[in-house]
Symmetry: C2
Subunit: 450 residues, 2 copies
């Protein structure tokens, strides 16, 4: 949902762009927060995005827009600018965002930009590019405050005033030894409450949470969230402090990972598919639908096999949808509960049997309930006891089996380190469909002797 002030802002900008009211646009741009301004870009056409961007005077704001707008938009904006201007903007951006951006540009372009930036003394960005996109190294910023253990609180405060003006979020001061190894941490808070002459080693915390550069970003986010910290230091293999991951990036990661899981579960790819082109949409969604299509064709062959029974008892077909639907829905419920429980840490893979047996019980009870309901409807409509019994049993079997599969498959995948989010997508649903239909026809033809 979007707030009304945002809507008003977007509408005003659009109107002024149509009228080409440059002076008034410049005024609006100046008094709007960069985060709000970035939202406007998503609602503009590509040429208008360029026009609005050129009306921003402050280079730092341009950098914030680069950091905040979507990938497609930023690539369009860069397309329009000459490289000198791009380098000037990138120089003022947080280095993790720069590395992220360069990683998405065509290699020829990013190489040229990197060369230009190096001449200006920004080698750090190149260092960041070596880390995987989704690792602690890929999301850290190399700007942090690192001091030696014998620095006094007063000297630390002075160094804050003189040297560390460009540090993004200076709430922690890290303490390192002569080799740059991380040995402690102090908060800015502690710094001001101790007597000025106290050396860091007397009040620093030595029990520091640090993560390695290659740790997956999801794990990093979990640590920050679990321990309620504002930044986590990142160390290399020799325990040397190389960067920090800040809580604002962690928030973005948590949202991204949740989105990824949701889209994967729906079989719609793991990426931000909603703002991509129709072609990309189709490309990302096609494979999942293919799985479902193959499953559906298999089901049609199975039903085709029972063709003769069907021509004797045409209304056998009438209950295919309800049996498939009830199985599919309870299966998706169980899979979603299990996948999300695993993702949030509320379920553990070591509890596999208690989780699965609980879902099985739920499936059995709900299966009995809805099996009775659907069976009664069949009896009322067709007055044929054995047929009604077949329908009821098929609903019961289908729901029980679906609840079992919906929890067992993701738990098993997680156990062998495969992302369980894909498990509640069409693969499991399709499998449930096929098994449900098969069971139904076997039960019905056996009981009815047709």
């Amino acid at each position: 949902m979007i707030n009304d002030p945002d809507k008003i802002l977007v509408e005003s900008v659009k109107r002024l762009l149509r009228r080409d009211a440059t002076t008034r646009l410049r005024k609006i741009v100046k008094k709007t927060h960069a985060a709000d301004l970035s939202l406007v870009f998503h609602s503009l056409s590509i040429p208008n995005q360029g026009r609005l961007f050129n009306l921003i005077d402050d280079i730092e704001i341009k950098g914030e827009v680069f950091s905040n707008v979507g990938e497609d938009t930023v690539l369009n904006l860069i397309e329009d600018l000459n490289l000198d201007d791009v380098v000037e903007i990138l120089d003022l951006m947080p280095k993790d965002d720069v590395a992220d951006l360069l990683g998405r540009l065509p290699v020829e372009k990013s190489d040229v930009i990197l060369e230009m930036m190096k001449k200006e003394g920004s080698e750090e960005v190149e260092g960041l590019l070596h880390y995987g996109d989704d690792t602690a190294g890929g999301i850290m910023v190399p700007d942090f405050i690192a001091l030696r253990e014998d620095t006094t609180a007063r000297a630390a405060i002075e160094s804050l005033q003189e040297e560390h003006l460009d540090v993004e979020m200076p709430f922690y001061l890290y303490v390192v030894d002569a080799n740059g190894k991380l040995i402690g941490v102090s908060s800015l808070r502690q710094l001001v409450v101790v007597p000025p002459n106290t050396p860091l080693k007397d009040f620093m915390t030595t029990d520091v949470f640090a993560v390695k550069t290659d740790m997956d970003q999801e794990e990093v986010a979990k640590i920050v969230a679990r321990y309620d910290i504002l930044a986590v230091p990142v160390v290399d293999d020799t325990n040397q402090l190389v960067g920090i991951v800040t809580v604002d990036d962690v928030i973005d990661i948590i949202r991204e990972e949740a989105t990824e899981d949701i889209l994967k579960m729906a079989g719609a790819g793991g990426d931000f598919v909603e703002t991509k082109s129709i072609f990309k949409n189709i490309k990302m969604r096609m494979p999942w639908l293919f799985a479902s299509c193959v499953g559906g064709i298999i089901a049609s062959f199975i039903i085709g096999y029972f063709q003769e029974s069907l021509s004797k008892l045409a209304y056998l077909a009438a209950f295919i949808p309800v049996i498939m639907g009830m199985g599919g829905n309870i299966g998706v419920q169980s899979a979603t509960i299990t996948v999300r429980g695993l993702a949030t840490g509320r379920l553990n893979i070591r509890d596999i049997w208690s989780v699965v047996s609980k879902q099985l019980m739920v499936g059995l009870i709900l299966g009995l309930l809805y099996g009775t309901v659907v069976g009664l409807v069949a009896q009322l409509k067709y007055s044929r006891e054995l047929f009604a019994l077949s329908v009821g049993i098929a609903v019961l079997c289908s729901m029980t089996m679906a609840a079992l599969a919906g929890s067992l498959v993701p738990m098993t995948l997680a156990k062998i380190n495969i992302d369980p989010a894909i498990a509640s997508g069409p693969f499991v649903t399709t499998a449930i469909d096929i098994i449900s239909v098969t069971l139904y026809f076997i039960i019905a033809t056996t009981l009815l002797g047709i």
Copy 2:
């Protein structure tokens, strides 16, 4: 997924509890971070939870466990304790967590505890209980640093050293006027970099983001995430500063809201159903399955209506699953993409027509593709052109309509302020099922003249 160290910790605690090795357990408890310890509780039986809790010596750690473990666990723990001990623990906890906890206790119990706490001078918690659980007021802490605008930087630092030792996350100092109205903010950082005699009014930021006590927590989280801030001040109707919402709580909200959306989309209730009892699981999931059941029964009546055509052409039934499945899956994809896009702000309700027409195009193209595939399969198997054509057209119609409904329904719901997450649950899926089946039989009987 759970980290190995966690697994080792849980296993050790379980083993030691079995052996009743109290001394070793106490040692482990002492050296384990409260956040890690809290995880262990989830894997223990209720009596063992009580035993482990009693081995914690530090009351503050007990409070952190209360804040971190799930609702059910904390209620079990409180059950075992006498009220004096409970009050002692609550006194050391963040006040928003206390208010949250008291809100979940039976009224008689929470009233007694509140009375006891008031005697100790903790009236603030009672104030917090008046705000809705999911509002800024319900998640804020009433501890913050508020100073007058003529306070100097030095005096501000001194007040930090003397008065504000219990403030949870003191990175911002708020500036208020004589009536307690919020007029500015300064960071701890700014405080140490300006000359000590500078009054706050000379360097404070007057452009402060503040939220009202009744703002929905999801909106609060979005503001904190959008502007990359560490805490947002909460004001009442008279703009008086009454509390702050900190970034660590925002992280929890973002995760909770994502979980809620995911579960709602799967029709499994909005709450943390995974750790609830079998009975609660059934209760939460039943209504959604009921919707699906009613839909399935309606579908059975529709198919029953075409019974005569079916007995003439039994293999008409064979393609019911694939037509329903393809429609259902593409519908869920479109709905999920739309719902998540709205939740993350990447899609706006004012762009309803561009979003819906894009999904419609995607549905049309994928419908043509898979309609052709399924139609060809039908032709190869049954060699009857008009039948194959019916199947192909039914797949095309079902997929196009499902992609349209999957995006249009959540966009419309969002427009009229109804949570769109419920839209991709069984309601939409069921509607798609019914329409798909109906279309299929109408197309086939018309084309084939049966």
